[in-house]
Assembly symmetry: C2
Homo-oligomer: 219 residues x 2
DNA sequence: GCTGTATTTGACTAACTGGTCAATTAGGTG
DNA sequence: CACCTAATTGACCAGTTAGTCAAATACAGC
């Protein structure tokens, strides 16, 4: 039987993969360095050799996660002529990305709980602009040109809006269930929620507005 | 100097108060029983005397938090004739409640990370209907009657929608800042965001819709 | 094949963690 | 005042935790 010969790259990746799983499952404080080492079938010293400390490892996990997510966003292109359809695809893509990568929500929640303490220490993550915002801007532009969207909609605000609704639905499903008595985990309810987010976004973007709604301020 | 004579009620409350602060600041796994005892200036045994275990204490904290929040929601009544104005008040109330009680977000996030493990064990919290939903229903009804809102809007869906946006804005402000490079903590940006949520809600509820937006399904 | 360097490991530790025990103290009640 | 019960405490423990040390091992270049 071939003893696993040394292979720094593979080892590093394996640690990163298992650490992501552990940190996502148990959050920063709940995660155990020994447990990660056991998952990797490596001695704990390897983690310290490559990442210095538990915090260093967590930062590397965050960076890796952000890069993966960003790449996925960049690879997505809302094609097709219809801006309304493109906007729906955009929302669906965001929702699906979060469903496909539950570790993203877990890691971000853990990080926000610590007031972004680790992200602040990472130079690679700071001011990492989400490429999806550019796609939104483009779709909005086309929609305005075609007369289906109203002008002067901020793409960042719109992005935060629908990603909030997608994220929160998944992230807080357990306490929402406890408070409202509704199971948000079923496929059908998810589909309905995705449609609802799109509906809200499109109602907000629609051009055929007149009276009092958007742009107005209350006292 | 008067040695603190025994007072079970006050002691219980003090433990609950300090435990809430500790669990909110450090989440369930990060919180330390010894630290809570130290905050209370009580021997650790008191926590075990009154709440049995760290988990029992956390459950009590969750229950207490829910009751407080629910009471606040119930006390709120969106008065006034104008349903549009009332809806804005409703959104503002929700946003402000989360700003006033940051521990709510911290505790709920911690609990969702554990897939609602503790909330499931609490009989007092299960299926605790949020009273604000009733207020929303009533405002929607009035709006439909006055012809400013369209009919058949689900109050629960609407509640989850705007509370998502309010909650997420506060909860994820640190990672949003890291990813988008925008400080979401300033008073002005908060005001703008509150207005934006209201705008979206009202655009969604508005009666004067015709063509394709709400209710439509994509493939 | 020799040697230097990077990879990998087993054994260890000092501090901490949730939880327990037996003992002490204060208040209400007869 | 004596007695019972509930509140409160100091001392302690077994298991765990992030992090360390020195040694061993494999690979690359000569």
């Amino acid at each position: 039987m071939r003893r696993k010969s040394r292979n720094p790259e593979r080892t590093r990746e394996k640690i990163l993969r298992e650490a992501t799983a552990e940190f996502a499952a148990r959050s920063y404080d709940g995660a155990r360095v020994d447990s990660i080492a056991r998952r990797c079938r490596l001695s704990k010293n390897m983690l310290y050799h490559y990442f210095g400390s538990k915090e260093g490892l967590f930062i590397a996990v965050l960076e890796h996660m952000y890069e993966m997510f960003r790449k996925r966003q960049r690879d997505f292109a809302a094609r097709g002529g219809d801006p309304v359809k493109a906007m729906r695809q955009l929302v669906a893509h965001t929702f699906q990305a979060l469903l496909d990568h539950p570790e993203v929500i877990a890691l971000l929640n853990s990080e926000n709980l610590h007031h972004g303490r680790h992200i602040k220490r990472s130079r690679r993550v700071r001011n990492l602009y989400d490429p999806l915002v550019d796609t939104i801007r483009e779709v909005l532009r086309r929609g305005v040109a075609e007369g289906v969207f109203r002008p002067n909609i901020d793409p960042v605000t719109l992005y935060v809006s629908f990603s909030s609704m997608a994220y929160h639905y998944i992230s807080n499903q357990y306490t929402l269930r406890a408070i409202l008595g509704v199971d948000f985990g079923t496929a059908e309810r998810r589909r309905a929620w995705l449609n609802h987010i799109s509906d809200m976004v499109l109602a907000y973007c629609a051009a055929d507005r007149a009276a009092e709604a958007p742009g107005q301020r209350s006292a």
